[in-house]
Amino acid sequence: MAMRLREFIFVRLIMTIPTVLLLATIVFVVMRIVPGDPVVSLMGARAGSEEQIEIIRHSLGLDKPLYIQYLSYIGNLFRGDFGNSLVRKSPVIRELFTHFPATLELTFWSMLVAIPLGIYLGIAAAKKEGGKVDASIRIGTLIRWCIPVFWLGIMLQVFIVLYAPMFPLSGRMSARITFDKITGLYVLDSILTGNMVAFVDSLKHLILPVITLGTTMAASIARLARANIIEVLGEEYISVTRLKGCPEKIVFQKHALPNALIPILTYAGLQTAMLMGGAMLTETTFSWPGLGRLMLFAVSYRDFNLIQGCVVFWALIISFMNCIVDILYAKVDPRVRY
């Protein structure tokens, strides 16, 4: 069994290569077919002479034929080399790693709120299908699902401005606090260094973004959980269990719930992966220095090395999370074989 599992993981990892390659190719093509010369926009206001532009073009390798550019781009990817950011001049990989912890921290805390809350609401609604509790949870989650994250975020900020001005509006940590970074995950770092002030401050900064992002995710998880549980409860094997005289509580908890929640696992896993690629709107609303804002920065300066880096990094995360979800799936559902 252990061997089979290892083989399964190996095959899954191999299978991620075409997906990542495809995305890398799409972003390469999109970056090349869109109008606008990256070199010209890079030089910005200091519009240089034809020669200067040619020199820069040569130094970036943009004067070579497209297929050579493409091959060297893919070749470099396999060696883990994303090139240098055109605007910030630093290696893309370093930019990605300095921004990733912020995104990871936000994702972790949001999902920590979203998954239990969503599943709890879904169960509560499904148990009383058609009742008042069900109706209010359905209406509540539907409306929450329709509220854009940036609007909710801004309204929370307005509330803070008007009623609790001491509370931080945005960012990850107040500027006046000094502390040592180890992993870049501020909450974890402040625990590791035993810095209580930093710990409280970083948690305070997390509250608004986590409410904003967490409740969005919770709403969609709750809607899915409700639908799944109701569907499973209508299946024949549940009726058979009931006919055999099994108490309703055990029917629900032991027979219906596990089967209904397996698809939620997949969904939550994919959503986590999506968030880890950077929640652009939430990060922008709260000036959260994560991958989403890095991506926006890259796009607005047409820094194509950085854009390609962000997208490929994102694809890697998605594939990795997919792999983990598949393995978990096989663990919790005995019908699935490797």
Partner: protein
């Protein structure tokens, strides 16, 4: 065509009250937004002209207050429905006209072609819509058509999937087989007989996509990648209003956002209500 309408009316009659309420509330909210947009001029303010009165609080004069340039927010918000709805509508239509016929053909013909299309659209489905939309919006520049196309790419695979699935199951049904035996051409079969059956599910999906497209339009506007000012657009107005919240000016961002929520809720309710009604069989059971 009239059969589909008759069938729908029959289903609507036996549908549970909750789906009826959803559908009717949704349609009501949508009509309200369209009404406010059309009769905007009768409320006395222009969405573009300044009243000379900056940041005035919501009052009887300006029920939603005025913004940083002294423009009446109520008038801007009513007018803003136009750009959001038009962009969302164009993008949904574009993805429908690309996704549905390819899906129908792919499912009907099956074989290798079907597999190739499925792989391509699955890859597109996996690509994050907002990243693609931002890339296209920045590179092509702001505008109604570029924004619509940027958004539409995300929905093409959805129509492909739903129509392909229907086409796969329909082609084995006796009426399609008998038409084929009578010598109907494949093209006519797909466009006149199979796609017609997909219309109810397509409409439900279109409504749900309208709601997510409106969210996307306003998201792009919020990031400053939407329509160029001074065109009133909910997301853009909201993003600009955000700069003034520390001064306590909440109305400049609150009301555009409220309109986004109302219109998204409207389309979601219509879509979900339709979906539930379609899934009922005429004997009153869910399929």
């Amino acid at each position: 065509m009239s059969e589909i309408v008759k069938d729908f009316i029959q289903r609507f009659k036996i549908a549970p009250t909750s789906s009826k309420i959803m559908l009717i509330t949704g349609i009501f909210l949508l009509l309200l937004i369209i009404f406010l947009n059309i009769f905007n001029n009768f409320f006395g303010y222009s969405p573009l002209k300044t009243t000379g009165d900056l940041f005035s609080k919501p009052s009887i004069e300006h029920i939603m207050g005025t913004d940083q340039l002294g423009r009446d927010i109520f008038s801007r918000v009513c007018y803003g429905a136009r750009s959001s709805l038009i962009i969302a509508f164009i993008s949904v239509i574009v993805s429908l006209t690309l996704g549905a016929p390819i899906g129908a053909t792919s499912g009907y013909i099956a074989g290798k072609l079907d597999r190739v299309f499925s792989i391509i659209f699955d890859a597109l489905y996996a690509f994050p819509g907002i990243i693609l939309a931002i890339l296209i919006a920045v590179m092509v520049g702001p505008g109604v058509y570029s924004t619509s196309i940027a958004i539409s790419v995300e929905y093409i695979p959805q129509y492909f999937r739903i129509v392909r699935g229907l086409s796969l199951s329909l082609k084995e049904r006796p009426f399609v087989e008998s038409l084929r035996a009578l010598g109907a051409r494949t093209r006519n079969l797909i466009f006149q007989h199979i796609l017609i059956y997909a219309i109810p599910s397509i409409i439900a999906l279109m409504m749900l996509n309208m709601s997510s497209a409106i969210l996307m339009v306003s998201g792009l506007g919020f990031l400053g990648l939407g329509l160029p000012p001074p065109t009133p657009e909910w997301g853009t107005d909201l993003g600009r209003g955000r700069d003034f919240i520390t001064m306590g000016v909440w109305w400049a961002s609150a009301f555009p956002g409220l309109m986004i929520v109302i219109s998204v809720v409207a389309f979601t309710l219509i879509g979900e209500g339709l979906n539930e009604i379609i899934r009922i069989t005429t004997t009153g059971k869910k399929l």
